[in-house]
């Protein structure tokens, strides 16, 4: 292991420590310097595409991109100056010239507000470099999950990189350069015909809403504000942390928790998109009991609990306490399983309990 002790540089005049291998951007982030960027995703290799993260380095003739410049002992870095801010504003105006509009609905994706936030911060003149544009939108892609509005694309390549580096799927790539740049699948086809698994990672890292969450945007006209609640995905055993997006009493979308301990920002197609079942009309809304004609009919809680208690106890009274068997769920919370086993153990003194792990 390399010795990291005692490594320091000067950041805006203050001596700060760093770890070997860290970029100037990472050191600055730790010291809340709030350097602007559009192509940076902390989970991915630094790329240096947008140049907004430039800083001044004593001894260097021009500003350097802080994300791709490694910290070195004794460096003297200026993260903010009038000259830097002027450069950043011009760079931003060039990037923004790619976009027809800058207002992006926050439902579009986790990072979707990054560009609009910077445009506001720098009061960037979005029409200053109007003219050429790259990217042709794929309105013909009928997939129900990922909007491919490439007219909004600023060629930061975050989607391409997240698909390769984070997902390992390599479903999308970059075709051509300059104003002909196009994010595309191999052979320029539909996502469903590519290696895409619809995990939604490209949506969540896109800083402009060019790639956007079609399912969440179904609720874009709903008036209420978006609220987020941290929970855990209901599907497999990996336990990915998610932020449930709600408007009022409705779940409108899911975003991965970037600090989720099990998933660190990743999700799959089910965790990302398979949530409509929660509000499906088929959901049971009342208890049901079987009536004298053998039909299951709605009932009150009182009636259902009494009937269930009586039915279970009748078996126990007639055939003994080993005639009742409980099956706990591998899908319900720990509290459910705990109480299921307590029901037979504390209630009947048996261990006639199992869960769905054997089949």
């Amino acid at each position: 292991m390399s010795d990291n002790s005692g490594l320091t540089l000067f950041l805006d005049g203050e001596e700060v420590g760093f770890t070997r291998g860290e970029s100037i951007f990472q050191v600055s982030e730790r010291h809340q310097k709030d350097i602007p960027t559009l192509c940076y995703d902390e989970r991915l290799e630094a790329f240096g595409a947008c140049r907004l993260c430039i800083v001044e380095l004593e001894g260097a003739r021009y500003p350097v991109a802080s994300c791709t410049t490694k910290a070195e002992p004794g460096m003297r870095v200026t993260s903010k100056s009038g000259r830097l801010e002027m450069h950043r504003r011009v760079l931003l105006e060039m990037v923004v010239s790619e976009n027809r509009e800058v207002d992006v609905n926050e439902l579009a994706g986790y990072a979707s507000q990054e560009m609009t936030t910077l445009v506001d911060r720098y009061d960037a003149r979005t029409g200053r470099f109007a003219g050429g544009k790259s990217g042709t939108s794929r309105a013909d892609d009928p997939n129900p999950f990922i909007l491919r509005d490439y007219e909004q694309c600023i060629s930061c390549y975050r989607c391409v990189r997240v698909c390769a580096e984070q997902e390992g799927d390599y479903a999308i790539s970059v075709m051509n350069r300059g104003f002909d740049t196009q994010i595309t699948t191999e052979f320029g086809g539909l996502l469903v015909d590519s290696a895409c698994t619809f995990c939604g990672q490209c949506i969540q890292t896109c800083p402009t809403g060019a790639l956007a969450d079609i399912k969440a945007l179904r609720a874009k006209d709903v008036e209420e504000p978006v609220e987020k609640t941290r929970s855990i995905c209901p599907y497999c055993g990996v336990g990915c942390a998610v932020d449930i997006m709600t408007k009022g009493d409705r779940i409108v979308g899911i975003q991965p928790a970037m600090d989720g301990p099990a998933n660190e920002g990743a999700l799959c197609v089910k965790g990302q998109f398979a949530f409509d079942f929660v509000h499906h009309p088929d959901r049971l809304k009342t208890p049901f009991v079987r009536n004298d004609h053998g039909q299951l009919v709605p009932a009150s809680w009182d009636e259902a609990l009494d009937k269930a208690a009586a039915g279970l106890l009748a078996a126990v009274n007639e055939h003994g306490r080993h005639s009742l068997y409980a099956v706990a769920s591998g899908r319900a919370p720990n509290e459910a399983g705990f109480l299921m086993q307590k029901l037979v153990r504390a209630g009947l003194g048996t261990s006639y309990i199992d869960n769905c792990s054997r089949a």
Partner: protein
């Protein structure tokens, strides 16, 4: 899992067996892809050509149900080539000598006969794993859903023990748990042989502890498994309470299962939907689901995490803890006066050694992986680091056994079942979520193109597939993902109830069903019309 998920980025040799991870645990698979990008080598053993196959350095396409033979053959080569970790075996294991003698007879040539894998490939895989600095094993139900599931797991343990690939970063024996809280269901004691925290029912100390906690005598013997309970339905078992399981669709041998539920005097089901199983019930309780419940669940790496309520439930649906405790109260059972999930979880922690250092507040950010034996303990991301819970790792002298049913003239094709990326289990949730059917609208039977031709069937055409228990009609998908002589389908679609066919046998120790092996006969059929 013995090791944390983040360790999946650390091995130099990965051995995946019986796990279709890119479809069933896609987010975990991304970590393996990162390890491979950083230079790790991967061995994949699976009867089918799955997503992982494309990423593997060595592919072992074994005949379904022959896993234990492969593992014995690999152990033989590792021993023969002097790749055993003698220090580890001496310091940390027992029965090592007997084991090394035992595996002498299981040559790669013998394993090749059983598995259908070339002996050179078995040698190559054994050498790769045997020489690993950090070798990690990952498996799923492809290992356990066999009549020899316990033997298979022990075969994997033998490999890890003989090479010292356990208790260190990037190593381990790592079962990927299939359901969001299947780990938790075992942790909390919803099994017939353990109290919460895997405290054995048959241990007098535990018997005393829990009879004191709950103020009554509790049987000193283990209960019976669900498999046995369903067998005894209508006889010893007269009533059942099933929480959140679509037993009829997901259990083997559907007809047997339906008969069992029908023969009960009384059935109570608690679920989100009127499932095929709920249709058999006398009382159905509406439960809250994802985003509607405060609670905890425990993932495959033993991490306890909080669930939070974001929206109100539909109508009068209630959380499971409320339903079960109120039912218990109506049955005049004592000790069910809870007012929230937090109280239930805190009681669990007070009774479970593995959760003893946790409480509702401490699991707020999901930082802890059990065991957390006392307050202030940081949790245990990696098991078996300095010692095994029982002191020493025990080698088990396993042998190969044929599946419960093997192919013959009447049923000449192997059927194996599993999941698909876009759907989950009986589709009660993914089938009711917009868009997933775009990716997978209906079930197909994956058949090798040569077999499709040989059986006089066609790609997209229909066949009848029959086992000794029943028959289903299914559409053919011609694909080299299936090897010749083996076909695959999921059990997710109710119009192709594949579990009508399965259920040939059960592991004698765990009663786990042999869902991964079912000999079938396949005959061309006409397309079904209407409903």
């Amino acid at each position: 899992m013995s090791n944390p998920l983040k360790d999946m980025e650390k091995p130099d040799v990965i051995f995946c067996i019986g796990t279709n991870m890119t479809e069933c645990h896609p987010v975990a698979a991304t970590r393996l892809k990162k390890a491979i990008a950083n230079g790790a080598k991967m061995i994949v053993a699976d009867p089918r050509e799955i997503g992982l196959t494309k990423l593997a350095d060595i592919n072992l396409q074994l005949r379904v149900g022959s896993d234990s033979a492969l593992l014995l053959g690999m152990a033989h080569v590792i021993h023969r080539e002097g790749l055993v970790d003698e220090g580890f075996m001496l310091d940390r294991t027992t029965e090592a000598e007997a084991f090394l003698k035992h595996i002498e007879e299981f040559t790669p040539e013998w394993a090749s006969e059983v598995t259908g894998i070339a002996p050179e490939l078995i040698e190559e895989a054994a050498l790769l794993y045997g020489r690993a600095e950090r070798g990690a094993i990952y498996y799923t139900l492809g290992i356990t859903e066999h009549i020899c599931g316990v033997d298979n797991v022990q075969g994997l343990c033998n490999l890890a023990l003989m090479t010292g690939n356990i208790g260190r970063e990037g190593t381990g024996i790592n079962p990927m748990r299939g359901q969001n809280n299947i780990q938790g269901a075992g942790d909390v004691g919803a099994i017939p042989n353990n109290y919460p925290g895997f405290q054995a029912v048959t241990d007098p100390a535990n018997q005393a502890k829990f009879s004191k906690a709950w103020g009554r005598e509790i049987d000193h013997e283990n209960g019976i498994t669900k498999v046995r309970a369903l067998e005894q339905a209508g006889e010893q078992i007269r009533a059942m309470f099933i929480d959140g399981e679509n037993t009829v669709v997901t259990d083997p041998d559907r007809e047997h299962c339906e008969r069992a539920l029908e023969s009960l005097d009384f059935l109570v089901v608690c679920d989100l939907f009127m499932t095929e199983t709920a249709e058999f019930a006398d009382v159905v309780f509406p439960a809250t689901g994802f985003g509607e419940t405060d609670g905890t669940q425990t993932n495959t790496e033993r991490r306890v995490q909080r669930l939070r309520k974001a929206v109100p439930p539909p109508g009068e649906a209630k959380p499971d803890w409320w339903i079960i405790s109120r039912l218990a109260q109506r049955m005049n059972f004592k000790g069910f006066e809870y007012s929230g999930a937090d109280e239930v979880f805190n009681e669990l922690c007070s009774l479970s050694g593995t959760y003893a250092g946790l409480n509702w507040d401490r699991v707020e950010f999901g930082e802890y992986q059990w065991p957390v034996p006392e307050e202030g303990h940081p949790g245990t991301p990696r098991l078996h680091e300095d010692r095994f819970i029982n002191g020493r790792g025990i080698f088990k002298l396993i042998r190969y056994r044929d599946p419960a049913e093997t192919i013959d003239d009447d049923y000449p094709v192997w059927l194996t079942t599993g999941r698909r990326l876009a759907h989950y289990h009986s589709r009660t949730q993914t089938g009711r979520s917009e868009g997933l059917d775009y990716l997978r609208p209906h079930e197909t039977l994956e058949v090798h193109p040569d077999d499709v031709a040989a059986w006089g069937a066609s790609d997209g055409g229909w066949v009848n597939m029959s086992s000794r228990r029943g028959s289903v009609r299914i559409r053919i998908e011609s694909t080299t993902r299936s090897p010749r002589g083996t076909v695959f389908s999921s059990f997710s679609f109710n119009d192709v109830p594949v579990n009508v066919l399965t259920g040939s046998g059960y592991d004698p120790v765990t009663d786990t069903a042999e869902l991964k092996v079912c000999p079938v006969r396949i005959e061309p059929a006409i397309e079904p019309t209407g409903d």
